[in-house]
Amino acid sequence: MALKSLPLHEYLSPGHRLCAGCGEGVTIRQILKAFDEPPIICNATSCLEVSTTPFPYTAWRTPWIHPAFECTGAVAAGIEAAQKALIRKGRKKKWNVVLGLAGDGGTYDIGLQALSGALERGHKFIYVCYTNDAYMNTGIQRSGATPKAAWTTTSPAGRVIPGKTEWQKDLMKIVVAHDIPYAATVSASYPMDLQRKMRKTIQADGPAFILALSPCPRGWRTPPHLTIELGRLAVQTCMFPLYEVENGQYRVTMKPKRKLPVEYYLRPQGRFRHLFTPKTRQDIISEIQAHVDKKWEELQRLEQLT
């Protein structure tokens, strides 16, 4: 599979109002390229939702519904169930893929229950969580996805407390615990890896889950042209490893040739500036490095075990 083989269609049209250099724009465009015909999308309240549908404009060329923030899993379940019933009763001709889209706030935090319920009930749908590590839509507040030590407006880097004091929630483990057929992490910086995984979600016989790291120039305090580079660094430092869990089997899909120190990922980002200036907080950086190392080893062990 090569980039040239990807379809020309843009189910998310240009003219949307995401920030310049927004990781969500790239991620969603790439995700939609995995589809040969438009999926039915339900979208949680988020930057993506707000920026793509200011009335009377829509950037969506697919059927698209946005009911609220925390209910993407449940709405997708309803769409799937309706399709099943309507097809069975002869009122709808063919099956369309159901795609749930939600950010980290709408998934890690407020939407976790609806997601869990939908996964447990085994609805056939794809859920994509595009995470930019915080509530960017409301102005950069901490979420369960915010990495340790990151500055946000509700986990400020103060004189006493240096940014977020807790580790990021391991959402993948929670999702995988539902024993669904397919779950994977993706990054738009690795488009063919993303395509391959998305195509697997379409084939999955049951719920499939995708966690996509979506760099946010505004919230991460980074220049817009670095969006793809940061995604790459997240993978190369193993801060955000690319892997998939297919029917319980772990597989790391992108092993860095040389695992970079986390500092490479942290230093370019304004949200971690307080770790480097006025003086370098080596203690925190080392702590993050140790944590990443531990998680990375654990992931590799899981790959061997399963």
């Binding site: 015909e37 438009p38 039915i40 339900c42 939702e49 707000v50 549908t53 200011p54 009335f55 009377p56 829509t58 969506w60 060329r61 697919t62 059927p63 698209w64 519904i65 946005h66 009911p67 609220a68 925390e70 209910c71 899993g73 449940a74 709405v75 997708a76 379940a77 309803g78 769409i79 169930a81 309706a82 399709q83 099943k84 019933a85 309507l86 069975r88 009763k89 009122r91 709808k92 369309n96 229950q113 609806a114 869990s116 319920g117 939908a118 447990e120 009930r121």
Partner: protein
Amino acid sequence: MVAGMVLALNGDEAAAYAVKQCKPDVIAAYPITPQTIIVERLSEFVADGELDAEFISAESEHSALSACIGASAMGARTYTATASQGLALMYEMLFVASSFRLPIVMSVANRALNSPLNIWNDMSDTMGARDCGWIQIYNENAQEVYDFTIQAFRIAEDHGVLLPVMVCHDGFIVSHSTEGVETLSDSEVDSFLPPRDPVYPLDVERPVTIGCVGVPEYYPEIKYQQEVATKKSISKIKEIMNEFNEDFGRNYGIIEEYRMEDAEVAILTIGSASGTAKDAVDEMRTEGKPVGLLKLRLFRPLPVKDLRKALSDVKVVGVVDRHISFGALGGALNMEVRAALYEMKDRPHVMGFPTGLGGRDIRVEHFIKIADELLKIAERDMLEEDYRVVGCRGPGCIGP
């Protein structure tokens, strides 16, 4: 159960049986007392192959209604049921369903809200949800629950309405009371209720964006369009009720008058209390007291004109709410009836009587006390209190 017969059903079972005959495509619900019997029966119908529907056992009421929204947006006939805390948890999504103009039908077995925890009947739940843009129909008994559940789908899905409908019945008092219910045959229901014809379903052939950002430049226009549609639905609801009456020999209206012809004072009720109140009116009448009863069936949209007309000749109206709107004028029904009558030339006095809170039994005697109070007001031609709670011990209340 054989259709088209008189069946012994409690209110919940009457709802479930009617829903089965309406052939929904998707049911999404979460169990909560006193509604649970409905979803139990419906899941049995599905499990036994008597009802061809997808049954989603949601993990919360919020998700139950969210799933209904997704299903209804796809064009499916969609149903859910809840009560009390469950409705409160749905609150956010209630607005979404009505704003999307999705014809979801929901039964509510009315129940009080915490705290203290109370599983018994009052109307804190649906009265609290009165401004969510749903049509609200309140039923007196199992027969009405059955008849209006069927009509609710027809009303909701009518292209001149396209709004979600709450079909309310009092928890336990109706939900758990077995009565004889005259059912319709499946074919009678089929002829009254054609399959749903969705207007703008989620469709790959004709992609539609539902749930945009309503910027201030457009929000008022979108909302006023909804307001007009809601108000306009009254005439359509009347039309559909009349058709049902003609087809099946019933005699329903959006409001119903009982012994109002020469009444000087009127008790205004909603839900199951209406029946008990009728017995009280009869008792008062045998003593020669000019008391009448007005039963409100349709609370949303509020039939303002009908209320004005029905109450134009009485001196006093006693509005029996089944909940309290804290810090205001008793209950919501009282406030709305007062507001509706305010611009009438010779408007009657309107006094509120919140009662039956959290399952406190409402007896004939309570209504006689209320009616006596109303007659006193008529005599004085003056209202001393805006409302008084009935069925509560202590100063300022009318006893248990």
